[in-house]
């Protein structure tokens, strides 16, 4: 993957070079050369981001199934492909063949749109993850000064899709799931954002790449252990995996907002869930564990290693913990995590005031 990034960077650099040096900005007032270069680069970038997300989803679903089988002393998928690694692709083909079912009383447009509202922000989130750097080139698909704000904005769009899907299904259980999803996301996004603000205070920048560079001396997990706990729990809650899987609790709400979804729409919801798991692990690794910073190996390898640790922890919580009640969930969000994040904000503000430019 690193090589691919390197080739991407070279292509990007060549096109930028051509654009700046040889292709005129405008000819008789009409911009020429500009659009074709950016069109090619944009097309490659779109394909690249989608490929990263899909590869991450395939790997995570495979690892999830195998790991869940491991802790239950089973073997897991082992029929399709070497060691069952192509099971997800077979599942996708199976889902594509299924009938496109829709409840008769459903809001048709909203019902159709909801999976894409959940899935698209996950793909867009991968745009601003800094995957490493080759000499002076940053391996980000786009790099601007407010990438963390962009990331958080897109992370908070996906719950809207869950609520739309639950309401549009015209089903009691889906409605309950949507309402729980709304309550859970409101309860956990405020502490998450406050703990993110303290990171931004320490790094002095909204850019994800600058946050990584700021952790060259010491990763932010050490001065901000409270914020890390808050952010990590919020990420688990945002993915709605156990112990915070109330929006889609299988045993009481028959999988909540996704009850009525079947076929490829359900497949898209499923891929969105696992894609968000990949995105969340990368984001936590970038913000609290120093992203691509590390000795010996290239940056991308370090980011993948750090992300894999968090994915294993996510999966471990998934397979080992039970579900909390809705009142316990709201208590955790509003009564414990919010004060913790505010304390963390004060601590990091004090650190930034005392040490100044060290961090």
């Amino acid at each position: 993957m690193n090589l691919f990034f390197f080739l991407m960077s070279i292509l990007y650099g060549i096109l930028k070079f051509l654009h700046i040096n040889f292709i005129p900005y405008s000819y008789n007032g009409i911009p020429v050369g500009l659009w074709i270069a950016y069109l090619i680069v944009a097309a490659v970038e779109v394909v690249l981001v989608f490929a990263i997300a899909m590869v991450a989803v395939i790997i995570i679903v495979y690892v999830f199934r195998k790991y869940m089988a491991d802790v239950q002393n089973r073997i897991g998928p082992n029929r399709i492909g070497p060691w069952g690694s192509l099971q997800l692709i077979a599942d996708v083909f199976k889902l594509l063949q299924k009938q496109d079912l829709m409840p008769t009383s459903a809001d048709r447009l909203a019902f159709k749109v909801a999976p894409y509202i959940i899935f698209t922000p996950v793909i867009l989130g991968f745009v601003v993850i800094p995957f490493g750097n080759v000499s002076i080139l940053n391996l980000m698909v786009v790099n601007f000064n407010y990438t963390i704000l962009f990331l958080i904005a897109f992370m908070t769009v996906a719950p809207v899709g869950e609520i739309i899907g639950g309401l549009a299904s015209h089903n009691k259980f889906s409605l309950y799931g949507a309402m729980r999803s709304a309550a859970q996301d409101m309860g956990f996004e405020v502490p998450m954002l406050i703990s993110l603000i303290s990171v931004i205070i320490l790094a002095g920048s909204y850019s994800a790449n600058d946050i990584v560079i700021a952790q060259r001396v010491i990763p932010f997990i050490i001065p901000e252990i409270l914020g890390f706990i808050v952010f990590f729990l919020a990420m688990i809650a945002r993915q709605s995996i156990p112990p915070f899987d109330l929006p889609e609790s299988g045993s009481e709400l028959v999988s909540g907002f996704s009850t009525e979804y079947s076929g490829m729409r359900y497949g898209i919801l499923y891929m969105g869930n696992f894609g968000f798991m990949a995105l969340a692990s990368f984001v936590v690794a970038v913000i609290y564990l120093g992203g691509w910073e590390g000795p010996i190996f290239p940056g991308t390898v370090w980011l993948v290693i750090k992300g894999a640790v968090f994915i294993i922890i996510f999966l471990l919580t998934w397979v080992s913990l039970g579900r909390v009640r809705i009142d316990q969930l709201l208590n955790i969000g509003w009564k414990y995590l919010l004060p913790l994040s505010i304390i963390n904000l004060l601590i990091s503000a004090g650190i930034a005031l005392y040490f100044g430019g060290v961090f």
Binding site: Q72, N73, R74, I75, N78, T317, V319, S320, L321, Y336
Partner: protein, 157 residues
Amino acid sequence: MTDSQKTPGPLEGIAGIVKGMWTIFKEGFKPKITVQVPEEKLEYPERTTGRVFLNLDTCIGCTLCEQICPNGTIRMVDLHYEKKQEFDKKYPNKREIYPSVDVSTCIHCNLCEEICPTGAITLEAEVEEVHFKRKNTRYTPEQLSRKEAELWGEDER
């Protein structure tokens, strides 16, 4: 209120969660207990009471197994079987009837093996009785005397 009834505090709760997760984590390194049945095979112990086997040479056709069978799985059938001369001398009262067994209703209770006076019926470690048609689940005495692997491919099963 005793100690065991006390509500755990937040720290005890977190410790419990971590302990539980550690237990599950250790479980991931244990050996797998599932077996890929078509490719791998479990080794059954010798005392396994699987399919009924019949020794045609020692069976005397006394119908005790049919009488003891709790659900009518064993039925006696007529079978022309070439007897040896010594066999005729040994069991002069031999009737030409032998037990047949419907393997789909057999409950492997082992009563027929216990009642058999000559030890002709035995229940052995043979469990793979697979058939596509229900009529093929009733085994003739001749089929009962052979192993399951030898029977595969016979009469469209």
